[in-house]
């Protein structure tokens, strides 16, 4: 129990509520208050595939060292949903606390003697104070926020300031919110010894940070990259990318004179159509993208092959969720790695980027459009539900005003005028990247785009040599992107470690935390985070220079490990697989559980030699 004592700025709370009852805004109020107190925080939604009525949870981790991975050890459980009491009360860490609505008494069977129960009759209190049914439901949420402000020692000024900002133009609401906050706060102060040993104290870790979801950042990246056409079909967890794109476009892309849009968002009839729209727009010269998830990529596969073979810039954003099939649509996974790497029939291989947090979502979204146009090919921006829909503290996004889109080899009318003959698929410069023209620019630039066999001049062909020449060049072209995709992030220990970890995407945060733990246990580990595909020299060098490598990822079949064995000469035997694929964001324990047995047996081996 001692480990729960005095956890200043180091604790995780889980809040269990009912989907659709307005708890989301109460929870983000809480998260934001802690953030504004300067504390490193992260917030994770655990939500059902349901609109109203099922249990939903929100987890807030405060960690003074800045660890942002999920931590499934909950010191405090806010149990507001009787439906999930049994589970919630069993999940709180020994020595922890349960804050619950005591309007109805708790079933004796649920009680535990190793946790402290803090009852607050929220429903009853709200019924006394508020008139309307909806208000009573909503204010219960604000009520538990009030209690937590007292219990965790959150600065009331910060909360009040936020409420005032939020309801600046709705004075009526502000009153009821204040009442509810006070209601919870006063009860806590009167009934319990506040604050608890888990508590917050102002720090200075967030002044250059922002709190944002990956999807919002991705969408903003699309705006800044100059994307004008977005096509999509709604799917969790990618929907909020387009919601955000629409919002930013409303704000930044409406022509002030005419009130007309400098963008076009097409809600397609399905993902096949969304892919076709992106490819059509890319062919016509716009920067175009589609946000989707695994099921959508499956549907788009035929079109992706067309874009690959006909060499049409196109950006596919895959916010992964748990597969296969519909799987668990509101849970996270890194299950589409193989899918995006080789999507479509025939020989194909695609550029893919793997951001680890919202800041990289923003930066890589911009990079995705540059790469797509430079290499004239589909580019996949691969994030996941955890990155996309959860709240992350990241360094404030920056923008270099000198940035200009890399349009690649697109010929202007003047340039076309100067060339003697234009051939779409001819490798003029010897870099495997041909020149491209856009429709409607110049008659000499015309060519026929097709997914059927074509020779380097763009003519239809069924000739073996002519066909091979083109597909070989395309292979070379895509491979040459390896040194232009975001390069891996590498962490090494002095002198180099015997063990290495390779991971990617949002698994990064758990790996970083686990790595510190291992180091403290006397097991230094080098670490490489893959950020782009195809793999370049840096990845190969890292694999070469380590004898034992743990490939940490969030899927059942070790897809990253498979990719590494396909794409490099690294022997399979060197790559141990560490996997977690149950649908929650990765936590340090998953990584340690996978690595420790190997390390321990190696230690035994060493000792006996």
């Amino acid at each position: 129990m001692a480990h729960n004592r005095d956890r200043l700025n180091d604790f995780t709370i889980r809040i269990g509520t009912v989907n659709g009852t307005g708890s989301a805004s109460a929870n983000s109020l809480l998260l934001q208050a802690l953030f504004r107190m300067g504390l490193p925080v992260s917030g994770k939604n655990v939500f059902p595939s349901n609109i109203q009525g099922l249990p939903t949870w929100y987890e807030i981790r405060v960690n003074r060292d800045g660890y942002a991975a999920r931590s499934p050890t909950f010191q405090l459980m806010v149990a507001m949903n009787p439906q999930s009491y049994a589970r919630d009360l069993s999940e709180v860490a020994s020595g922890g606390w349960v804050l619950y609505d005591s309007t109805k008494e708790l079933d004796d069977k649920l009680l535990r003697d190793d946790v402290t129960f803090l009852g607050i009759p929220l429903a009853h209190m709200c019924a006394e104070r508020f008139e309307r049914a909806r208000e009573r439901t909503l204010m219960k949420n604000i009520g538990y926020v009030g209690a937590l402000v007292a219990l965790l020692d959150i600065e009331m000024d910060v909360v009040q300031e936020m409420l005032e900002e939020k309801f600046a133009d709705k004075r009526g609401l502000i009153e009821s919110n204040f009442t509810a906050i006070r209601m919870g706060y006063d009860w806590a102060k009167e009934q319990w010894k506040c604050p608890l040993p888990i508590r917050a104290k102002r720090m200075d870790a967030t002044k250059d940070s922002v709190l944002v979801t990956g999807n919002a950042a991705t969408a903003l990246g699309c705006v800044y990259a100059g994307a004008t056409v977005g096509a999509w079909y709604p799917i969790t967890p990618a929907t909020s990318v387009m919601d955000a794109f629409k919002e930013w476009c409303h704000r930044f892309r409406v022509d002030p004179e005419t009130g007309k849009n400098r963008y076009c968002i097409l809600q397609a009839e399905d993902e096949l159509a969304a892919a076709g729209m992106v490819i059509g727009a890319g062919w016509a010269g716009a920067r175009a993208f589609t946000p989707t998830s695994g099921p959508g990529i499956s549907l788009m596969s035929e079109f992706i092959g067309l874009a690959y073979y006909a060499e049409i810039p196109s950006v596919f954003i895959d916010v992964e969720r748990t597969g296969p099939s519909t799987g668990m649509p509101t849970r996270t996974q890194q299950g589409d790695l193989m899918l995006v790497a080789y999507a479509s029939h025939g020989d194909t291989k695609h550029i893919a980027l793997f951001p680890a947090d919202p800041r990289e979502c923003f930066e890589f979204a911009v990079a995705a459009f540059d790469l797509a146009e430079r290499f004239q090919t589909p580019v996949f921006l691969v994030s996941d539900l955890d990155i996309g829909m959860n709240d992350w503290r990241v360094p404030r996004l920056e923008w270099d005003e000198s940035y200009r889109p890399d349009r690649g080899k697109v010929l202007s009318a003047e340039e076309i005028e100067k060339v003697k003959d234009f051939y779409r698929y001819l490798d003029v410069d010897g870099d495997a990247i041909p020149y491209r023209t856009l429709p409607g620019v110049h008659p000499k630039g015309a060519y026929f785009t097709r997914g059927s066999g074509h020779d380097k001049y763009g003519k239809y062909t069924e000739d073996s040599d002519a066909y091979v020449e083109v597909v070989d060049r395309i292979a070379q072209k895509v491979q040459s992107a390896a040194e232009h995709v975001p390069q891996p992030e590498i962490h090494t220990v002095e002198g180099g470690a015997r063990y290495g970890i390779v991971s990617l995407g949002g698994a990064h945060w758990a790996v970083m935390e686990a790595r510190d733990t291992l180091a403290a246990e006397g097991v230094p580990v080098d670490y490489l985070r893959v950020r782009g595909f195809p793999f370049g020299v840096a990845v190969k060098d890292f694999l070469d220079s380590h004898d034992e490598i743990f490939v940490v990822e969030q899927n059942r079949d070790g897809q990253l490990r498979t990719l590494l064995t396909i794409e490099t000469e690294c022997p399979k035997s060197k790559l141990a697989s560490v996997r977690y694929y149950g649908g929650q964001p990765l936590s340090k324990e998953h990584v340690l559980d996978g690595i420790r047995p190997h390390v321990a047996s190696a230690a035994v081996e060493a000792a006996t030699q």
Partner: protein
């Protein structure tokens, strides 16, 4: 910008249009279709329509799916970009490219397999979006390219070359388009250029989705006795319910418009489409009545043709989406990127 490089009077005998171009300038590569294939006649009609409309060849964008019909964009207007995409999905390519550059003349070519089976969903939504384009369905009742299977437009009782009888009812493309709310619905016959050319012209002038179903016989797999999509059957069973005349903007209008049987519709670009009803009581402005009339004609075993419905609202996909007039591809990056200051400002909300 214009790129007229041809001398205005190159060949004295050859006709020239206002751009100084000849019909040859609207041709493409040599067709590889079977000799006598209806699709080649549709191509010829398109060449004539584009020539006579003085369309700048390089301002055309030719799109198609997969099939014999979908190969034809290679056979006209070689100075235009063409895009032979994937089976049944051309409408989405059209939506995307039109979203990006609304100023081109979009011509989509499809087949009955391409449009009515694998691509039925995309066709329906292209109609719903009212994408500004000419959409030609080259309808032969079979899958030509995969060697003669019945398509969804095959009539009940139609006999295949191998002697099989089709038992499932057809999807009638024009009834479908009417029911889905298409703004321009026509049917013609590849063997009737006189009827087809003005319809194609009107379709190109139309703002929105111009749907033209063209019976276009497949000589190799569906031109035999017992087929209801053969030349012979179509010739004897076609029933023109409306006659279409297309009057381009520049030409003086001389005909009398007061006449009760003629309706004149002014297109967005100022040209005029005159519809003269042949069938009594036919009203190409009344969707419900048109549908009913078509059903009656079909019941008699006849094939109703002509510009069957026309509604010039001017509200296309860009109207729905409120897109800026200037093509998105022509916007400067500076007008698209909000810049650093805006980013800093925005991030205050994330604090």
């Amino acid at each position: 910008m214009t790129y007229i490089t041809k001398p205005v009077a190159r060949h004295p005998k050859m006709r020239h249009n206002a751009l100084g171009l000849t019909p040859r300038d609207y041709e493409g590569t040599m067709s590889t279709l079977c000799a006598g294939c209806g699709h080649d006649s549709v191509t010829a009609a398109l060449i004539q329509a584009l020539f006579e409309l003085d369309v700048e060849p390089y301002r055309v964008a030719k799109l198609s799916g997969i099939g014999c019909s979908s190969k034809t964009p290679a056979y006209f207007v070689k100075e235009a970009h063409g895009f032979n995409s994937v089976h049944g999905r051309m409408p989405s390519i059209a939506a995307g490219s039109n979203a990006a550059n609304r100023d081109l003349v979009y011509i989509g070519i499809s087949g009955d397999g391409d449009s009515l089976s694998i691509g039925l969903g995309q066709l329906s939504h292209a109609i719903r979006r009212n994408i500004n384009m000419l959409y030609v369905l080259e309808n032969n009742g079979v899958y030509g390219l995969t060697k003669g299977q019945f398509s969804a437009s095959a009539d009940v009782g139609s006999v295949s070359k191998r002697g099989e009888i089709n038992r499932q009812g057809p999807i009638d493309p024009v009834s479908l388009a009417l029911a889905l709310g298409a703004s321009f619905v026509a049917r013609s016959f590849s063997g009737d250029k006189k009827q087809l050319v003005p319809i194609l012209k009107a379709g190109i002038a139309h703002t929105g989705f111009a749907f033209v179903d063209v019976i276009s016989p497949c000589v190799t797999f569906n031109d035999h006795k017992g087929s209801t999509k053969s030349y012979a059957h179509t010739r004897t069973h076609a029933y023109e319910v409306v006659e279409t005349d297309f009057v381009p903007l520049r030409r003086e209008i001389t005909a009398d418009y007061g006449h009760g049987d003629v309706r004149a519709v002014t297109m967005h670009d100022g040209s005029v489409v005159r519809l003269r009803k042949v069938a009594e009581d036919y009203d190409a402005a009344n969707r419900g009545a048109a549908l009913e009339h078509i059903a009656d004609v079909r019941k008699r075993g006849e094939v109703p043709t002509g510009l069957l419905y026309l509604e010039e609202t001017g509200q296309d996909m860009h109207g729905f989406e409120n897109t800026i007039e200037k093509p998105l591809v022509d916007l400067r990056y500076e007008d698209l990127c909000p810049g650093r200051e805006a980013l800093d400002e925005l991030q205050k909300e994330w604090w």
